[in-house]
Symmetry: C2
Subunit: 243 residues, 2 copies
């Protein structure tokens, strides 16, 4: 009873609201450790499974971060979550039955990056940079161009991984402790190279999702995603269920 609203919502929703309220009003600031499931169970008077479901869903929605054996923590604002979703379209392509194929266009180590590259990607220290370009195909049609600049100090053997598997972003996320992320979504005209790789015309508008990740001070990575065409269009039809 204490702290839970009186509306007609299910209990686990009330628990979620309770947690979100405590986050929203600053009671539990960023990275604060939440009370344990056991504590919430007794203080809120609901079963542990109900608390657990609430916390699990809030974690999936990006509000919390949980570490087994340690505790539950308040996540930073989930502003970037929706943008992250976009970059998962590739995995979704696979999930919805289309055939996915990835082709490595380029794989190189830039030993001495020029100042422009350093500035553009905000590398804070002079060091070699690994550079990769991969084109993703859906049923044989080029759909996405993926370009990455990875600081060699951040990931040791970046070039050795299997780029044809889907988990390239997951690879980065799991091999490095992520501390800061920024996303930019924008539109640019296709260069001659883009046009050739994606089977579009030069100067066609491309949607670009640019993601930068920092860990610590000097190390940095940059990922660039490019969507094909002047517009990225997807459609679907809902039909009444079979009887």
């Amino acid at each position: 009873m204490p702290g839970l609203s009186n509306t007609a919502l299910p209990l686990y929703e009330k628990v979620k609201d309770f947690v979100l309220d405590n986050i929203g009003n600053g009671n539990w600031p960023q990275n604060e450790k939440l009370p344990s499931e056991h504590e919430l169970t007794s203080s809120l008077g609901v079963s542990r499974m109900t608390v657990h479901r609430a916390l699990r869903e809030l974690t999936a929605e990006g509000y919390l971060r949980r570490v087994q054996g340690v505790g539950t923590f308040v996540s930073p604002p989930k502003a970037q979550s929706t943008l992250i979703e976009i970059s998962n379209i590739i995995s979704e392509i696979k999930a919805r039955g289309s055939q996915h194929r990835a082709e490595v266009i380029l794989l190189e180590r830039i030993e001495r990056p020029d100042q422009m590259l350093l500035d553009a990607f905000e590398f804070r220290k002079l060091c070699p940079v690994d550079h990769s370009m991969v084109v993703h195909y859906e049923n044989g049609v080029p759909v996405q161009l993926e370009e990455r600049y990875v600081n060699t100090e951040l990931v040791k053997n970046y070039l050795d991984q299997d780029f044809t598997s889907i988990g390239t972003y997951d690879y980065l996320q799991h091999s490095t402790p992520l501390t800061e992320v920024e996303h930019l979504i924008s539109a640019i005209p296709a260069t001659e190279r883009h046009a050739r790789l994606l089977h579009i015309r030069e100067r066609d508008s491309c949607l670009v999702l640019n993601r930068k990740t920092w860990t610590g001070q000097a190390i940095a990575t940059v990922n660039t995603f490019t969507y094909v065409g002047s517009r990225y269009s997807l459609g679907s039809r809902y039909l009444p269920p079979k009887k």
Copy 2:
């Protein structure tokens, strides 16, 4: 045991894979009615709560559609889901503590839409169209311009609703049986009017999310979302948890 993989995944993940496999290989086509939780419980040899969790998560991920008292059905490919997420940024603004405000710029009924409007929005029948323009503010800063054209045959009293509340899209979704959706995401230069409303310069690039929904034959709706600025940028920082 029958049908579940032998990997080290948790049971509910295996159940999810089992369902996705049956969808992927065409065994359960679109809108097919799945076996009931009870049937899956006995055929897979796991408890109902485990089956339920798997189905609930797949529903949240857009693969299934569930109706209480009726059953579980295979959803159409969830291609548009990630794009739908984008349009929810407004609600997220509120969720992450920023103040949200909406201002109605225009509210009119177009009794005799011209041919260009009909063509552009693929209205299939001549009828009055309700037109609204709303600007959304985050902490007083204009963030999004939302323009809607709604067929009056689809929603009777569209203009009467409360546009300052957030649920305008939810309103449409719940007041009409949705049968078909299409999303287009693109980039356009801001018109003089856009620039004025969003406090940007004319010809600045705007990201546009365009959503069309059809129900049945003749009726149609069009929603247009416009994001501010030449780029839409969001950032966040992850810090190590407190000790």
